[in-house]
Symmetry: C3
Subunit: 425 residues, 3 copies
């Protein structure tokens, strides 16, 4: 469980600070408000109304802890998609909203009854199965992320063909991130059994095989098509496999988990291309890898899951209808209400940094990330008497020197930028 939270930080190392603040804000808000909405007793199956500010009674503490991490994960997915162009205050406001409203209400629908019989949610009542949050956590985060990037808009230059730096990522860091995520997921999914029982090993094996299948599928696919291995694509496949298997990791055989991973990876890949085509700038691929892979995985529970685990003796078709209902309603709620709320919020308090800030801001917005380099940049003009000397040098080669120096400076600045980009996923 612990790794689960930690992992995302690594995965998107430049949003580390946002993420820790996210954990802080989302954690406090979830403790104060969200947990009660989610697990408190309710009358209608839509939200709970007890247990605010009070997470430690009635054996609910371990549960609270676990859900606090899930809730932060959902908030982190949104934040990742908004990277590089969003105000910190906006980011914190969104985190607080996710923790106070979006995540707990959806969570109540599906998991509300886990703690108190009387708090059973309407989707759980229907028989909706989402073992460890493929839709509750990843769907909520992914659809909110889509709403958020539509409200905020793409980064400047993101869809400008000539600016290739936008595509730069640091693969070793990303790979380590994915690996940590992978192992963290063992905690996510394994821990969702709520106790260490004989289900845990098969859950972990299924999680692992699905991740491997997702990565392998897209690796092979891209290799065949492009005749070389594409790392980014296969890492995405791995994440999609992890997300997808989450809905039913407890009721698959290992070969079924393999297929789930492969299918969710393909769904994610298709969705990624759609985003690219629609010119929607979702920095970490939150929508394809979380919302879409999560939706696919949630539906596949009805296709591959052990029928005996379905409620009320449902057939596969009946269960499929239930799963689809859950996926659609949650997507609609998260995306629809999310879009409306963020649209209004954006009018009240602009979510995005100013254009000027964003452009010079590759440094400034990243200030936190690269203080040293920035301080160095800031000091450049003071860097000894060199430049002035040369500028004052009035022979006719001075202009040329200056050109050389400018060039050097531009090259160094560009390397600074790449170095900073390197820090990111």
């Amino acid at each position: 469980m612990l790794e689960a939270g930690l992992v995302r930080q690594k995965n998107t190392i430049n949003v580390a600070f946002k993420n820790i603040m996210d954990f802080i804000v989302a954690g406090l808000v979830y403790w104060a408000v969200g947990f009660g909405l989610m697990y408190g007793l309710g009358e209608n199956g839509f939200y709970g109304t007890t247990m605010f500010l009070k997470a430690h009674d009635d054996g609910a503490t371990a549960f609270f802890l676990y859900q606090m991490v899930f809730c932060s994960a959902a908030a982190t997915i949104v934040g990742g998609a908004l990277a590089e162009r969003t105000r910190l205050s906006a980011y914190l406001a969104i985190s607080a909203l996710v923790a106070a409203v979006f995540y707990p209400i959806i969570g109540h629908w599906v998991w509300g009854g886990v703690l108190n019989i009387g708090a059973q949610g309407w989707l759980a009542e229907l028989g909706f199965i989402d073992f460890a949050g493929a839709t509750v956590v990843h769907g909520t985060g992914g659809w909110l992320a889509l709403a958020a990037v539509l409200v905020v808009g793409p980064r400047i230059g993101r869809f400008d063909k000539t600016d290739s730096t936008m595509h730069g990522t640091n693969f070793p860091v990303a790979t380590v991130g994915v690996l940590l995520l992978w192992f963290g997921w063992f905690g996510f999914n394994g821990g969702s059994a709520l106790e260490f029982n004989e289900q845990v090993p098969i859950i972990i094996v299924n999680t692992s095989l699905s991740a491997a299948a997702g990565g392998f599928t897209l690796l092979s696919w891209a290799w065949i098509r492009e005749n070389k291995p594409n790392i980014a694509v296969s890492l995405n496949g791995t994440i999609a496999g992890l997300v997808g298997v989450t809905a039913g990791a407890h009721i698959y055989e290992t070969n079924e988990a393999f297929l789930v991973g492969a299918i969710c990876a393909i769904a994610c890949n298709v969705a990624t291309r759609l985003l690219e085509q629609w010119k929607i700038d979702d920095v970490i691929g939150a929508w394809p890898a979380h919302a879409i892979a999560g939706a696919a995985g949630t539906l596949l529970v009805a296709v591959f899951g052990d029928v005996s685990a379905f409620a009320d003796g449902n057939s596969r078709a009946e269960q499929f209808a239930i799963q689809a209902t859950g996926v659609i309603v949650i997507a609609a709620w998260a995306f629809g209400v999310g879009y409306a709320v963020l649209f209004v919020l954006n009018k009240v308090m602009p979510l995005r940094v100013s254009e000027a800030d964003e452009i010079i801001g590759l440094n400034i917005s990243e200030h936190d990330a690269t203080t040293d380099l920035i301080e160095f940049d800031g000091n450049l003009p003071l860097f000894g008497p060199g430049i002035d000397d040369i500028e004052a040098h009035s022979d006719d080669t001075a202009g040329n020197y200056n050109r050389v120096l400018d060039r050097v400076r531009r090259e160094i600045e560009a390397r600074d930028q790449s170095a900073q980009q390197q820090e990111k996923l």
Copy 2:
């Protein structure tokens, strides 16, 4: 528990080697000497005299392991404060002293009786409460660190206003460090229950809320005052919250843990300003974040802790007196004896590298950290025939070229230095 140790390495990545050596030396010394002093049977409540070199009898093994990590943590706190100007041999000597003497003796006073009734320490006898080491581990480490930095003195240029590079830190790495620390602390505090019982979840929730409260308090505080978020300050608040709650994580309600975190963060912040004012160069803020936040947290046990957990039916006031006694005695012992011992040690074997070494040494002392860059620097003069060619070029623009080249080289060297600094917390 395991994470707990690992975490600090990340947190101060450039002292990674010192830290592993620390773990090695402190671990071996604690095994050979410290554990017996701490948990062995004693006659007087001040130190134990059995169980040397023999950690695995009588169910003490898991215990030993746990304490070995605590002991290394205390040594690491001291080492962090001394970064960038201390000989490796001095550092190892200090680690050995902490593991052989400072930590075990203080530990015996408070925790000696945990393993053997007959080894009860005098502070435990009084009724002093320190659940997982807010004073035993962090107080010892923090006060020794203060003694050590006073003996060694600040880094050259640390309090020279014009040298801004000293303030550079790498926030993403630091943030990841704090996050790891946070999760590691779950192990620290959760594991201190010594078995997995129903207390563990509330301990972990309290730990987490206190950390969040600490971070949130200083984030808000700095934001209001400076009108922008200050990352370093809020990370320190998080650590202070973690340290502070450690003393009584098992006997707080969640809202009390919140208050403890907030108060300890403020105490840490005040202490940080004092250090700055006094021109004491404590690189990682060991004294504010460990000694002071730990002291505040230890005192707050009497204020917020569950009264029924106090020994002998003590009132809050009585318990406060006991807590204060423990805090003061341990601070006096660690700082006073520590200062004396290190003062003498410094005469016998200088703890500090030579001034020349320290100045050129941003590379040399960091040799371990950045071999490639250094080798590159070393190779610069040999870097192909370029320079000589140009220098031999006798037309009157040669001097100018050389000036340009020098400038480029200086810029690149400066960037090397920032890149190296970036590696540090």
Copy 3:
């Protein structure tokens, strides 16, 4: 257990992608083929023939998971040794071979009977003791790695005295890697008890003391000889201590574990010098630190292990003969068959990248690792109109400008290379 896998990734961060692919490929192949070969029922003690593609029956799931990580670890050892000059497809083929054949068959000999009585292997029958894979995992990986580097050959320039960059490593990253490895090993060895019983703490303490002893031994040794601390050497000692104690961590006293770590570290150090002398380029020291330290540790079980744990009332001498048999046979199998298979494979599908690719390839083969910098490099010629302007500038200083620019570019490229090297262990 989880950490165990994750750890190696960190340790060799530039092979992170290879490693995740390794985990994916080795995991899938082991699931499909290897696990059955290893733990399936067999008739002869040499390999199993049941349980293919079916890891979750009969309480075998947790076991499967564990072994999947072990199997990936063996594959990772081979891959690390081959870094910087091997095709990705070759690497994946080798991983698949390790997971399908090499590891499972050796594993069957020693551990086959753990799951099914009827699957007892012939070495287990003899009484061979290898608690958590000092020979089964590390010996297999280390000897295969030696075979592989002999087939593939050293990196260009590796044994060229004037090219010092080859020796560059990034010690903080390596140190963090070692620390993670250390803690991961707690999982490796602790988990090998197969249940959490009273043996686990002593296993972990022994693991830790052996690692510390290994590191301390080589630290002291190098310090005495070279009069300064040698970090790389002491990190290797730590790893050797970890590997060595693995064979008998459950049947040592703490002081015996100390000796085991010290002796294995010395064996590793001697082997490292031999490789250097023989001009064999084993990038991560797979053979000294895994095969040789593992062999030493496996033999030392007979010297220091608790005699009552030996099968059939064997004396130390008898057990030593058995341990030696196991070590030799496994080494011969892994190295001999491995060399033959890889030799043939190399004819069919060259394992190594082309010479040109390797030279320019410090970037290209590392493409995955440093996309941004490479994209930047690629863009250099397009980097605004500067260069063309200057080149077109026809006064007689143009050539000189260009020389300056070339020099700048070369310096920047060299720094790019160091920055990339820095990413590696």
